[in-house]
Amino acid sequence: MKKTKAIVITGNGTNCEMEAANACRLAGFDEADIVHISELLEGKVRLDDYHFLNLTGGFLDGDDLGSAKAQANRLKYAQVEGANEHLIDQLMRFIADAKPILGVCNGFQLMIKMGLLPAFNGNYLDQVATLTFNDCGRFQDRWVYLKNNPASPSIFTKGIEKGIYLPIRHGEGKFVAASPEVLKEIEQRNLAVLKYSDPAFSAPTMEFPLNPNGSVNAIAGLCDATGRLMGLMPHPEAFHHRTNHPRWTREDLPEEGDGLIIFRNAVEYVKANLL
């Protein structure tokens, strides 16, 4: 039996690499490597050797040019030493090989700004949406209810009944589409996987703080048509055990946190399709 291998890219300001790798292991990945981007650029490590790519949270380059913009630019132009290719070529090959990619928070911002999401018609390098400053104008750390769209093609959200409860921690999480048409297509194709909602997961909401950033159509998470690429602002890796829950001392909760199902679905997908 081959091993299931997850990679978490770090460097230049990513912050959530450890808990992301931890979540991968808890979910059942045989290996979850934290790899510094310099190791990829020097050709010491190749994306091709992994099944699941985590683009995790943080402040890439301080979000100085707008969240994740500098990293999007780096990935676009950076050469891999000793190999006759750019890092972006490895990334495109990863996608072509039908391997799953999860972008969380800063990683979601990166995917959107590179064009990896929503990637209409498999066009993975065309930006048609963005994530910008929260309407409240401030960074926010608070927990949000996320209503699942059962009709979405996402491979990560299988088995989520109504929704999940996760923390958000960002200043630039407001989802905006380039045009009404783009938004329409996202909704029609059920690419809006997760939406900010009321505690009962009954309906999406634009009400602060339930919708903490004013995202259009309350969109918190997005996938591509294949369902293998998904990004979301909330942090699934930060709710791996009940003691992460803000009310664990007063509620009866299952031992495992809501976030792990996303990673478990990833490992199931890998086992079923990539080994």
């Binding site: 300001g13 450890m18 510094h36 310099s38 913009k69 929260n134 608070r142 923390p167 003691t243």
Partner: protein, 996 residues
């Protein structure tokens, strides 16, 4: 060739940044602004093709979905006035640095020396504003003229001159690297002038000690042998000034105090530090014997204790007050990223697991005029909060615990305490991780950022009071990303054993870090010409003492240096070999082949005789308010809940990431709607284990008006009872003391020095007494002794303040307790006795009084009770626990109730009382701040076991948790004295700072 790229938002895109500015202008400056828009400007001073420029502008600089870009074409339109704000030359421009890197990726070639990118922001205002109004907006809101420059233009002139005039804030200075000699054969007045004008902060006595050193013929002989003359060089004088600064040397804590108490008994104290702080730790450790968990105390950048057999904990709390007074944002940002380097530079280096922050401000709603140079408390509040937000969040370290304290005297200087804890494997490459050693011959290596003029004289100026003429250069802006890159690299280098010694470059820069390292091994030989500079034009003495941020100093062996350098390169971290460590006994500094400083290490570190300090304690008497008995205290309670020191700080705390790293267990906010104020924090540093780290703190400057002994005792007790409240174990807990004082040294400027010094002595006596009783070893700390503002006759001195921080362990985080009541029917207990101790209380402050009856800590009873309570926690008998502090029982009950979403019915006649029965009344029982008390709720079925476990301690059941969402308190007379709904109380508690 200079190009100007402007990035504007599309008209349909919301401009949240501008909306916030607008709110500020309306609320704060009360000016009639209708609309604000912002534009980001990149001024590019580099040779780029038109093609490259537009690839940069359209690529990394612009988000096509919401933004448009223009190159060398003004983008501003539809406005009445425009303000552009950019940095002054030499000020750290993080966005500019990232922009440069982005362009380098686009072009595939690095910038040439001297080329750069400079950022600025344009604010476009619509509304009936005058030019003066706009200038006010610029100077009072948008721009800190100390570090930033600004242009104001009205619409007409803007279009007339075709946009803003180009400014390139480039540091222009020819590379002169001058070394001058200073003649110390001069009069006392002359010596003092040299010290004052050089911002050396050296006293006459110190100047004369230096003078004497250079008169020594043996010294002269040695100097001639290395090509120096008899006079000190500016490099040497500056190096001594840094090393001997109050900031670095702690002369007041090391000095000899001649203390006279209120009865006239005289005693001589040789070093407060040795006599109280070090002694406390020594005696506690002796008592702990084989249970001693301290690994490294006082000697390193931070304290180290054992977490378990495999891991060690590191903790340090710093202050960054003076810079935050001048530039709140940069000062606070530098404060947090600066203290990050302490645990990282402790032992072989620790991974950082959490930050804490405590701020002391004046009233942000202050309306009266302020002395020159002082910023408005509201701006300090805004800037400091944002600085710590950016520093902490961007570094990926959760900010788990803190508080904000308000007092009018903090207008003179805000206090900005930043703490950071780290964890490291107990052993690294076969050696205890808390040890490190320099071998002569090891190379001096500087890693991280480059050196500029920023932060020059930070150490010395913060050792003086703040004045009109405080140096601009003292201000720095931290760069969390450069530091993060450095840490990513160094933690891996640590595990490969690539360096022998690591320490932080903070106050005093290389002068202090390499100076202290030279003390370790006996000398050094360092060439300043090798140091990487941000820009030319620095003299050697500036290179030596610059406090430019994000730098660590290391000792690397010659065998490891190649691997170290190549690894740094691949992580994009600049490292430079500056020389080598020696055992010559000399701090030997060169510039090229010329010696520019040659100081005996012994003279630098032991050359200073102890200060002689006078201290006389005269207990103050304050007016004792007449307490009018009321039938109903509901109004008083609601007013207290809204008071600055008690009200919710959620609008600040939500801006801090407290969950990154995935280990958060007890968060800053808890309860049925995640908005109840936690007493302390619990985190899991190792996600595979359920063992947790607990941190909490205590601070109570108001009691200093009465007696700093009790201020200190109450701060320590508050810290420990917060720690105990969330479930922290008393078998593994340590303390850190941060003293922030006003200048206690007798002088014309400080005629009341002896009183302030006596306050310091009494605080230290309490520190010793209480920590010994609580078995709390002090593992690290810091003092900041010159927190005064002086301008002519106006002097504002802060209240003497001790921040007491704790770090410890909880065996299993699943046993942690939160402060919110859990379910109706639970029994409410008050642990500890209440006395008539309203002196210095929030209740008295609300009535405009101080009073005299300060809370007195009974450490023996409290400690026994804390231990018993912890047993109950471990046995799972406790539903909720909240510490009683500001506002006493009434406030604690209100907070526990509305946080839990259940009501509470309490009976004051069941509260245990201590002291004179004649003084027992409802006011005292509701609002007295008697120490060491907890409000606890317990399930009825756990009642017997809980009472059994607590038996022999002072505690009483005083009521019950109710279904009805009301706090109802029955007074001694049998009538209801407090009755109000949870919603009213929560609204009162939340409204005060909600919009800041």
């Amino acid at each position: 060739m200079v190009a100007r790229i402007e990035i504007a938002l599309r008209d349909d895109a919301r401009d949240s940044r501008a909306e916030r500015i607008k709110r500020e202008i309306v609320h704060f400056l009360r000016l009639p602004v209708e609309k604000v828009r912002t534009i980001d400007v990149y001024t590019i001073d580099a040779v780029l093709s038109t093609q490259e420029l537009s690839s940069a502008a359209s690529g990394p600089f612009c988000d096509p979905v919401i933004q448009t870009y223009s190159i060398d074409t003004p983008a501003a339109k539809d406005f009445d006035f425009l303000v552009e704000v950019g940095f002054r030359p030499g000020v750290t421009d993080n966005v500019g640095r990232t922009a440069r890197e982005a362009i380098e990726y686009v072009t595939g070639r690095p910038f040439k020396p001297g080329e750069g990118v400079y950022t600025s922001v344009q604010y476009l205002f619509t509304g009936r504003l005058s030019l003066e109004d706009t200038n006010r907006i610029a100077t009072e809101l948008l721009c800190n003229t100390l570090i930033q420059r600004f242009h104001v233009l009205d619409c007409a002139s803007y279009f007339k001159q075709g946009g803003i005039t180009q400014t390139v804030p480039k540091v222009t200075g020819e590379n002169r690297s001058m070394v001058s000699e200073i003649d110390l054969e001069a009069s006392n007045e002359e010596l003092l002038r040299i010290s004052r004008e050089g911002v050396l902060a050296l006293t006459l006595e110190e100047m004369r000690i230096i003078q004497a050193h250079y008169r020594d013929p043996l010294v002269l002989e040695k100097r001639l042998s290395v090509g120096l003359g008899g006079k000190p060089t500016d490099v040497e004088l500056e190096a001594l000034a840094q090393t001997w600064s109050e900031h670095c040397k702690h002369k007041i804590f090391a000095g000899t105090v001649h203390y006279e108490d209120e009865k006239g008994n005289r005693s001589e104290i040789n070093s407060l530090f040795k006599s109280f702080i070090q002694r406390t730790t020594k005696e506690v450790r002796e008592r702990l014997a084989d249970k001693d968990f301290c690994l490294s105390v006082f000697k390193d950048n931070a304290g180290v204790i054992k977490f378990d057999d495999d891991w060690s904990l590191v903790f340090k709390v710093e202050t960054h007050n003076s810079p935050s007074a001048l530039d709140p944002y940069g000062g606070a940002l530098t404060g947090i990223v600066g203290v990050n380097r302490d645990p990282f530079g402790t032992g072989k280096g620790a991974k950082l697991i959490f930050n804490t922050d405590v701020f002391c401000f004046a009233d942000p709603f202050y309306e009266k005029p302020l002395p020159p140079r002082l910023l408005h408390p509201r701006r300090i509040y805004e800037g400091v909060v944002e600085g710590v937000e950016h520093g902490g969040n961007k570094s990926g370290i959760p900010t788990v615990n803190g508080s904000i304290v308000f007092d009018p005297h903090f207008a003179g200087k805000p206090l900005v305490f930043c703490g950071t804890a780290g964890i490291m494997p107990a052993m690294i490459n076969g050696e205890p991780s808390h040890t490190k050693k320099i071998n002569p011959g090891d190379l001096i290596v500087m890693a991280g950022g480059r050196i500029g003029k920023d932060g020059i004289h930070g150490a010395t100026f913060s050792s003086e009071e703040l004045t009109e003429s405080s140096p601009v250069s003292a201000v720095q802006i931290g760069d969390p990303i450069t530091q993060k890159r450095m840490f990513d690299f160094l933690i891996r280098a640590r595990d490969r054993g690539l360096y022998n010694f690591i320490t932080d470059n903070g106050a005093g820069g290389l002068s202090s870090s390499v100076g202290e390292m030279s003390g370790e091994c006996g000398g050094c030989r360092m060439d300043l010409a090798l140091a990487p500079l941000k820009y030319p034009g620095l003299d050697p003495w500036e290179v030596l003492i610059s406090e430019a941020q994000e730098r660590m100093s290391l000792a690397v062996s010659t065998e490891k240096i190649d691997e170290f350098i190549s690894m740094a390169k691949s992580f994009g971290v600049e490292v430079t070999v500056l020389g080598e460590f020696t055992d010559s006994g000399y701090f030997h500094i060169l510039h090229g082949e010329h010696t520019v400083a040659y100081l005996p290490v012994s003279f630098m570190h032991e050359g200073l005789p102890p200060l002689q300090l006078q201290a006389k304690w005269e207990p103050p008497r304050h007016e004792e308010p007449l307490l009018e008995m009321k039938g109903d205290y509901t109004g008083d309670l609601l007013k207290l809940l809204s008071s600055l020191n008690i009200c919710s700080k959620e609008s600040v705390v939500r801006r801090y990431d407290h969950e990154v790293q995935g280990g958060s267990v007890v968060k800053p906010f808890t309860g049925v709607t995640n908005d109840g104020p936690s007493d302390g924090a619990v985190v899991r540093p190792i996600l595979g284990s359920f063992a947790g780290v607990v941190t909490a703190h205590g601070i109570s400057p108001r009691y200093s008006d009465i007696d700093t002994y009790h201020m200190t005792a109450n701060a320590i007790d508050e810290g420990l009872r917060n720690y105990v409240a969330v479930g922290g174990s008393l078998d593994l807990v340590a303390g850190l003391d941060n003293f922030c004082w006003c200048d206690p040294v007798l002088s014309e400027k400080t005629p009341d020095g002896p009183y302030k010094m006596a306050q310091l002595v009494r605080a230290n006596q309490a520190l010793y007494d209480v920590c010994l009783a609580y078995s709390l070893p002090l593992i690290s700390g810091k003092d900041s002794m010159k927190n005064d503002f002086q301008d002519g006759n106006t002097k504002i001195s802060i209240p003497p303040t001790l921040l007491f921080s704790l770090i410890g362990r909880i065996e299993d985080v699943r046993q942690a307790i939160t402060m919110d009541v859990k379910r109706p029917g639970d029994i409410v207990y008050l642990l500890g006795k209440t006395g008539a101790e309203l002196g210095g209380s929030e209740y008295f402050a609300m009535m405009g009084f101080i009073g005299n009856s300060v809370p007195v800590v009974d450490t023996v009873k409290a400690y026994r009770r804390y231990r018993a309570f912890h047993e109950a926690v471990v046995a799972g008998l406790v539903a909720s626990c909240h510490d009683l502090s500001d506002g006493g029982l009434a406030v604690a009950a209100a907070e526990s109730a509305f946080s839990g979403g259940c009501g509470m019915a309490l009976d004051l006649s069941r509260v245990l009382y201590k002291g004179d029965p004649k003084e027992k009344n409802d006011t005292v029982l509701l609002f007295s701040e008697s120490a060491s008390r907890h409000l606890v709720s317990v399930r009825p079925d756990k009642r017997d076991s809980f009472e059994e476990m607590m038996s022999g301690n002072c505690f009483a059941s005083i009521g019950v948790v109710t279904e009805e969402p009301l706090l109802a308190v029955t007074g001694l007379g049998g009538g209801i004295v407090v009755k109000t709904g949870l919603a009213e109380m929560k609204e009162a508690w939340q409204k005060t700072l909600r919009d800041l």
